[in-house]
Structure formats: structure tokens, C-alpha cells
């Protein structure tokens, strides 16, 4: 990320006057407060900041005078503000493209203001093209201006290498079938010249007649057979290649870090795995069948045309590209637009229909049927009108374009007939000739359309390889060690932020003894879940180290580490499959008895047994046929089945009622003996069994101690407890008074 733009000389001079020789950061501040675009800059030196515009320092100050520097995102713009002399001040304003830069900068300014070390870990990649230096679209790594089309294809060929033998065979078949296609007209000529209208002075030959017919039929037959073979082979090859690609992408997604996966929208990933590979499959198939075939035909047919009669060949070939271009132009600029619009209207009507039908209960509940009928009529009429319009135009345009295509043929006939009348050509030759001529147009018009879909396919190829080439953020150590966890966990001076300019955890020092149960407490956003993410090594720390039994967790083999950590998250995810499969996910070779044990610990056994299909109950998508509490209990069962040495519970019992929760708590208590447990809970009663409570506040450890110790301290924890108690007593009171009122009413 560029945080130090090079300044124009006069701005630079002015800036150095204000912040000192060493301008450490320099970011465009391209908006005035009232929204005019400016060429201003925000500069940060060793201890001063300044706002410079057109070689003039407009504002400057000591960094240490301000505090709480902050990037505030507004709508379509961001401002940098800080607290200065007790009041808030806007320092700079900019458009959105510099938002992240101001985020960084505010962090830097805060560090400088409190004279701390400026912490910048990973400079997030600047989205700019490596070749042309132009800005890159966020979320992509390919600059459309200098995308190397050749390189993309090369990669694709490398992946397709496995199939080269089949490719050659297909090529041979292609040549053979195009040869056969070209033979057809030759037999026609034979038939006409030899049998139907023999040249003057020769007899019509029956042998020639039959052999010509046989040749034509034979050509047709063999060509069809070859076509079938070719298509079957190509289907095999292209599916093979796209399956290879899908596998590559999928394998990669599994090994990529959580950081990458959450930054990509899940749908985007799905697209890459399914539709992009499908598009590539089509490309290969088209390229290797139609494209090559069309090219062969084009070259061969035009050669044959020239050999037959060069004057006629020119008459045919010259207008062909023009006609083909015209054809393409009409399609692209008129018909495509029209159909696109029609499709849009159709889509709108469709989504309206989907909307109303799935919300039919609401429509009925509000009695709005009439209104919806009227609205649908409108959409429907629109669609009908649009369809009529495009069909009308199409019905006019398509005969015209077809006529244009055949225009060349009329000229051929005109000149050809003249030649025949002057006896310079036989009828058979003319027929053969016009048959070849008709073979020309197809390939030419096809070639006109080719660039567009090749370009589309290239984007797909690039997108797929951008995933395949991605390097995982959490990397396996060079020589990972296997380690049997005993449960001694230590955080030493840990700093971490998902974006390096926003530290989520700061200065974390924590020691957890084997078998200890730790409760993590704090407001939402205080860094509890982040701490757990670091412990499971979904992310690596920016600074400091986390050890388990004295071993840096970055040294431990990832799969080894995670197989010994049991995680239950608040949002439980269950896969399609039976309850059995889902519990067994943690340990695929678990026996039936082990599964039942785990379910009993999680207090899930009873409800599972109650199901008609018991443990064989098939779950709908994400277990939607179970209640939230039931899903959570399955997730707990899944986590305990692996018999993990380290148990992480992130709001694991939040959607359970108190009674079920305490039952599970008891079971977990039994299980947790001798096992290190880290639990997060908003409901503080959940953590009453914890040996120690850690209170996090804004990414720092604010308090530690047992429940009693913390209550005596009357700090943050005390306040949290008080707030929750107040809440529940208020509810209780209201409830009780409600009952008594009801009782009174009943008595009356």
C-alpha cells in the first residue's frame, strides 16, 4: 500500500517546512470540506502533521497535541479526525479510494501521539498492476489492460498436457472429416458431368452414376461416424481437463487460510469452482472441434476455389468478410441489445413473481391481493410488449442478413452461367464450385464471433489460476513437528489485527495451566473470538508468540494441532447427511458406542433417540429440521468425540435454555477434568465453573481472577454482572407483577 506518494516539488518544499525534512507519510486529501475535488496532501513527519495544497501549508500541528486519531467513513467519502485541545477536529477529507490509507495513518498517528513504536506489520498489497502500474480493481489481481493472453493459454495447456495423445487423435479425425466434407462436392461434379449431363460426345455412364452416388453416401456416412467419435473424445478430454481444474481449485480452497476465504465471498468461490471451469471446458471443446475444423475448412475450401476458377473465387471471397462483418454488427449492436433488454424485463417480471409467491402469506395477511395482481399485469404487459418489439425486428432483420450471406452465390451463378453459356465451364463444375463457396461463409462469420468468447474464457482462466497461485496466509512450518498436547498454553506479548492498521489484540500476556478452565469475558468487539482464532491458528500473530507446552504453535503441524483442539462455535454448521455422519465428522473411525457417548455428554442423546430415525435422521441443509439448541448440542457432541486435549467453546451454549445448559455444563465439567478449556460466554452464569476469568477490554486484558476476586475488585466484570442482574430482576419483577395482576383479574 502506497503511504508515501511523491509530491510535486513546491508542495514538497512547503511540506518539509511544516513537518521537517523527513516526510514519512504522504497521502492525497483530495476533497475540500464542501466537496470540491482538490489536489491537497496530508503529510506526516517525525512529530508533526500538515495539510498542503498547491505549494501552500494550509494547516499543520504537533502530532502529540492531538489524540484519538480516527478515520471516519462517511457516505462516499472519509474524513480523518482527532481530538485537539478538548474538541474534535477534521484534519483531512478524501474520496473512498484512500480510505484504507487513512485507516493506517490514523493508527500511525495514534502510536506517534502516545510515543509508542509505530506498528506496521504486513503492508496490505497495493492494488496496482505490476506491468503498467495502473490501479487494479480491488478483489482482482489481473489488470485488464495488460493481461497476458498467451501466458493464460500456456498455463491451460500445461494442465491439459496429460491428454496430448487424445488431442493428436482428435486432430487427425478433424483433418479426415474435413477432407470428407470437401469430397462431397467432387462427387456431385462427377455425378452431373459423368451421368446426368455428360459432356458433348460422351455417353452417360451408369457405372460412374452409381459410384458417384455410393461415394456421396459413403462420405456422408463416414463423416457422421467420425463426427460422433470426435465429439465423444472431445467431451471426454474437456471434462477431464475441467475436472482437473476443479480439483486444483477445490484443493487449494481447502488449504487456504480462513483470512483468504472470508475475504472472498463464498458465492464468488463457488463460481470459480463451477462456472469458470465450465466455461473453460466449453472453450477447449469449441476450440478443438469447431475452431480447428472451421479453420481447416476455410483454408481448404478457398484453395479449392482458387484452383477451380480464380475469377469466381475472388467474386466469392471478397464480399465474404464484409458480409460477415455486417452480420456481426447487426447482431452485436441491434439484436443483442434488444434481446438483452427483453431478457432484463423478463428477469424483472420473474423476480417479482418469485418475490410475491414466496411472500404470499404477507400479501394475504395485509389483504393486498388486488394490488399485486395489478402490479403483475404491468410487468406482464411490459414483457409482452418488449418481446413483440424484438421479435418484430428480428423477423425483419434475419431474412435481410440471410439474403446478404447468399448474395455472393447469386454473383457466382450470374458469372458461372455466363461461363457455361460460353462453354468455358461445365454444369458439374459450377455446382461443385458453389458448394465450396457456401462452405466459406460459415467459418468466416464464426471467426468474427470468436474474439468475444475467447476473451471471456481468458478471464475465467485467469480467475482460476489466481486462486491456484494464491499462497496460504498461515503457512506450514518447513519442518512441522508432531506434538501431543498436554494443555499448557501461553500467550507472550501478542499483537494481532486482521488489518494491520487496526490492532484487535494488543499486548496479550496470558498463561493457561494444563486442565484449567478459562472464561473469556468482555463486550462484543473486545477481541474474545479473535483470541480463540489465534489459539486455533486460523491466523498467525503479528507480533509475539503463542506456545503450547512450550512449543510455538507455528512449529506444530496444522492438522495435528487442530485434531487435538475441539472447537464449538456459536453459529453451528452441520453438513448434509445423517446425525451420525455429523457427529462422526471429528473422528471418522469412531465406533457407534463412542458416538452415543459423545451425544450423551452433549445432552443430545435424548432428543436424537426421540427422532423417528434416531441417529440415522437425515439433516436438511444446515440442519434446518432441528432447533437451534439441538444443532448446538450436535456441534458439542462433534467437538467432544475427538477427545480433544484443548476445548474451545465460543458461545457454545448460548441458544440453549438454562436447564439444558447446566446439564451440558455438568457433563463438560466431567469431561473437562484434566483438559484445558477456553470458553466465551455472554451469559456470565455459564462461566461460574471457570477457574479463572479473563476480562478483555478493547483488545487488552483488563482484569484476571476468579469470580469472587473480580467481584471484590468492582471493575469491568463487576459492572457486567450488575447489568445482567438488573436485567434479570427487572424481567422477574415484571413477570411476577404480571402474574399477580392476572390473578387479581381472575378473582374479580
Amino acid at each position: 500500500m502506497n503511504l508515501n506518494y511523491s509530491l510535486p516539488p513546491d508542495d514538497r518544499e512547503a511540506g518539509q517546512g511544516a513537518v521537517g525534512e523527513d516526510i514519512q507519510f504522504c497521502i492525497p486529501a483530495n476533497l475540500s470540506l464542501l466537496g470540491r475535488r482538490m489536489s491537497g496532501w496530508f503529510l506526516v513527519g517525525e512529530s508533526r502533521w500538515a495539510y498542503v495544497e498547491n505549494g501552500e501549508v494550509k494547516q499543520s500541528g504537533e502530532i502529540a497535541e492531538g489524540s484519538n486519531y480516527k478515520m471516519v467513513p462517511l457516505i462516499g467519502n472519509v474524513i480523518l479526525e482527532c481530538e485537539l485541545f478538548g474538541g474534535k477536529t477534521i484534519l483531512a477529507r478524501s474520496t473512498m479510494e484512500h480510505a484504507a490509507r487513512y485507516g493506517y495513518l490514523s493508527q500511525v498517528l495514534n502510536d506517534k501521539a502516545s510515543s509508542k513504536k509505530v506498528r506496521m506489520y504486513k503492508r496490505e498489497e497495493e492494488a496496482s498492476c505490476a506491468t503498467c502500474g495502473g490501479a487494479l480493481i480491488p478483489g482482482t489481481r489481473v489488470c485488464p489492460r495488460c493481461m497476458n493472453k498467451g501466458a493464460a493459454f500456456k498455463r491451460l495447456f500445461a494442465v491439459s498436457g496429460r491428454h496430448w495423445k487424445s488431442f493428436i487423435l482428435v486432430l487427425v479425425i478433424l483433418f479426415a472429416s474435413s477432407g470428407l466434407a470437401l469430397l462431397g462436392p467432387y462427387f456431385q461434379k462427377l455425378l452431373i458431368n459423368g451421368a446426368l449431363q455428360p459432356a458433348a460426345g460422351t455417353e452417360a455412364s451408369t457405372t460412374l452414376f452409381f459410384s458417384a452416388i455410393a461415394g456421396m453416401v459413403g462420405c456422408l456416412l463416414v463423416a457422421e461416424l467420425l463426427g460422433i467419435t470426435r465429439n465423444r473424445m472431445m467431451a471426454g478430454i474437456s471434462s477431464g481437463i475441467s475436472a482437473d481444474l476443479r480439483k486444483l481449485v477445490y484443493d487449494k480452497t481447502q488449504s487456504l487460510s480462513l483470512g483468504f476465504m472470508t475475504s472472498q465471498r463464498a458465492g464468488d468461490m463457488m463460481n470459480r469452482i463451477t462456472s469458470d471451469t465450465e466455461r473453460i471446458r466449453q472453450l477447449i471443446q469449441e476450440l478443438c472441434t469447431t475452431a480447428v475444423y472451421q479453420l481447416i475448412m476455410l483454408v481448404a475450401a478457398s484453395t479449392l476455389l482458387f484452383m477451380a476458377d480464380w475469377r469466381l473465387a475472388i467474386v466469392v471471397l471478397l464480399p465474404a468478410p464484409i458480409v460477415a462483418y455486417l452480420h456481426r454488427y447487426i447482431w452485436k449492436n441491434v439484436l443483442n441489445r434488444l434481446f438483452h433488454k427483453q431478457w432484463r424485463v423478463y428477469d424483472k417480471a420473474n423476480s417479482f413473481l418469485h418475490d410475491v409467491l414466496s411472500g404470499i402469506r404477507v400479501v394475504k395477511a395485509f389483504g393486498k391481493e388486488e394490488r399485486e395482481i395489478k402490479r403483475f399485469r404491468e410487468y406482464n404487459a411490459n414483457y409482452a410488449a418488449m418481446t413483440l418489439k424484438s421479435e418484430k425486428l428480428y423477423s425483419i432483420l434475419s431474412p435481410i442478413t440471410n439474403y446478404l450471406i447468399q448474395l455472393g452465390q447469386y454473383f457466382v451463378l450470374l458469372i458461372g452461367c455466363n461461363l457455361i453459356l460460353r462453354s468455358e465451364m461445365s454444369i458439374g463444375e459450377l455446382i461443385q464450385f458453389s458448394a465450396y463457396a457456401s462452405m466459406i461463409f460459415g467459418p468466416i462469420s464464426w471467426l468474427m464471433f470468436m474474439p468475444r468468447w475467447v476473451a471471456n474464457a481468458i478471464v475465467s482462466i485467469e480467475r482460476i489460476f489466481s486462486v491456484i497461485d494464491e499462497r496460504p496466509e498461515v503457512e506450514e512450518a518447513r519442518q512441522p513437528i508432531k506434538h501431543d498436547i498436554k494443555g499448557h498454553v501461553q500467550f507472550k506479548d501478542v499483537y494481532f489485527g486482521y488489518k494491520s492498521y487496526e490492532a484487535v489484540l494488543r499486548d496479550i500476556n496470558l498463561e493457561i495451566k494444563p486442565g484449567e478452565m478459562i472464561g473469556l469475558v468482555g463486550h462484543s468487539g473486545s477481541g474474545k473470538s479473535t483470541l480463540i482464532n489465534l489459539l486455533s491458528r486460523f491466523y498467525d500473530v503479528n507480533e509475539g508468540v503463542i506456545t503450547i507446552d512450550g512449543v510455538d504453535i507455528r512449529e506444530i503441524e496444522q492438522s495435528e494441532l487442530r485434531s487435538q483442539i475441539g472447537v464449538v462455535l456459536q453459529e453451528t454448521f452441520l453438513f448434509n447427511g445423517s446425525i451420525m455422519d455429523n457427529i462422526r465428522y471429528a473422528k471418522t473411525d469412531a465406533t457407534n458406542e463412542e458416538v452415543i457417548e459423545a451425544a450423551r455428554i452433549a445432552n443430545a442423546h435424548n432428543f436424537i433417540i426421540g427422532q423417528a430415525d434416531g441417529y440415522d435422521t437425515m439433516l436438511d441443509e444446515n440442519g434446518s429440521n432441528l432447533s437451534g439448541g439441538e444443532r448446538q448440542r450436535l456441534a458439542i457432541a462433534r467437538a467432544v468425540l475427538g477427545n480433544p486435549r484443548l476445548l474451545i467453546l465460543d458461545e457454545a451454549t448460548a441458544s440453549l435454555d438454562i436447564e439444558t445448559e447446566s446439564a451440558i455444563q455438568e457433563a463438560l465439567q466431567r469431561l473437562a477434568r484434566g483438559r484445558t478449556t477456553v470458553a466465551i460466554a455472554h451469559r456470565l452464569s455459564t462461566l461460574r465453573n471457570a477457574d479463572r476469568l479473563i476480562v478483555l477490554e478493547k483488545g487488552r486484558i483488563a482484569e484476571t481472577g476468579t469470580h469472587t476476586e473480580l467481584m471484590q475488585k468492582k471493575g469491568i466484570y463487576y459492572k457486567l454482572i450488575q447489568a445482567q442482574r438488573e436485567m434479570s430482576t427487572r424481567i422477574d419483577k415484571e413477570f411476577v407483577s404480571g402474574i399477580s395482576e392476572e390473578a387479581e383479574a381472575g378473582a374479580v
Binding site: 466537496g35 475535488r37 462517511l74 467519502n77 474524513i79 477534521i90 473512498m96 480493481i137 480491488p138 438483452h340
Partner: protein
Amino acid sequence: MTTKTIEAATEQSEQVSTEPVITELAEAAAITFLDRSNASFRLTEGGMLAVEHDGKQHEAVYVHSSFPHSNRASYLSIRTIENKEIGIVRQLEDFDEATAELLVQQLQVRYFAPQINKLLKVKEEFGYSYWEAETDSGIVKFTVRGGVGQIKLVTPVRLLITDVDGNRFIIPDYTALSDKEYRMIELYM
């Protein structure tokens, strides 16, 4: 800020009924409305908006519009940085002219979206469209991601375009575009 813009802003707000109706709904919603009788706004030295309401000072507040597109200057929610609502300004006429000007200014700070006066070029390639347009803050070039949601009609005629960085651009009335300009964007609508 000229008085003309204020007039334009107030003109819009006149479309809503100005007479507050006390209903059961209003009673339940318990909205705090700010007007010249109970609140006063001022600009701090640091260029932030401050408000005094019922004797309480709020140093840095932000003005959020309830209807940024259809009725920008009405029902302005005055909020702190912690996103707590201090109250709602029903319409600018509830304050004196200077304050109204101040509020309109704050709206401009918060909602930055250059108006496109003339479209120069729209080119689509590889799932992104590249735009070049004359706006009221100069000629801009920006890139818009393809697919739904980036270009949308926020009122029957007002088009909102969001670029890949999150910058917003407005075409106030797409029916007023020239034929040539309209053809550039019609596929996205």
C-alpha cells in the same frame, strides 16, 4: 453556500406534510424532535457540528438524512459518533436560516456523491465497466463492477452508481440524458 441551495433543499421538504400529527404511533415511537425552541447548533473550531439540546452539550455530532435521495433535507437524524440519536430535525424551517445553512453543509460533508452532468464514455470489458464523465467536481474516471447492485435506480428517475472503491455518483434524472448518453448506460439499467 448560497441561499439558492437552501431554497432548493427546503423546496423538497415542502412535499412532505409539515403538520405534525399526534397519533398513537407517534406516542409509542417517542421521537425527540429538535427545533429552535429546544436545540441550537453551532460549528466548532475544528469544523465539527456541535449541538446543545435541553441544556446538554454534544461536541461532535453527525447529520444523517432519512431520505438521502428522495427528500434529503427532511427528517435529519442528529447522531453522535457512538451512533446514538440525539433527535430528529423534521425540516429546515424549524431553525433560523444560518442554522439551516449549517445543516445543509453538514449533509454535503456526509453524503458525497458527485453529480454526473455529462457522460463521456462507458466501456465494458471483462465484467467491469470503465466510466468517464463530467461531474460537478470535475472530470472523473471510475470503474464499476459488473452484476447487480452497483448501478441502481433509487427513485424512478435518479440513478446511483457505486464504483469499486465505494465512491458514489449520481445521475439526477436519467430521462434527461441525451440519446447518445442513454445508449451508453441503457444496458445497465
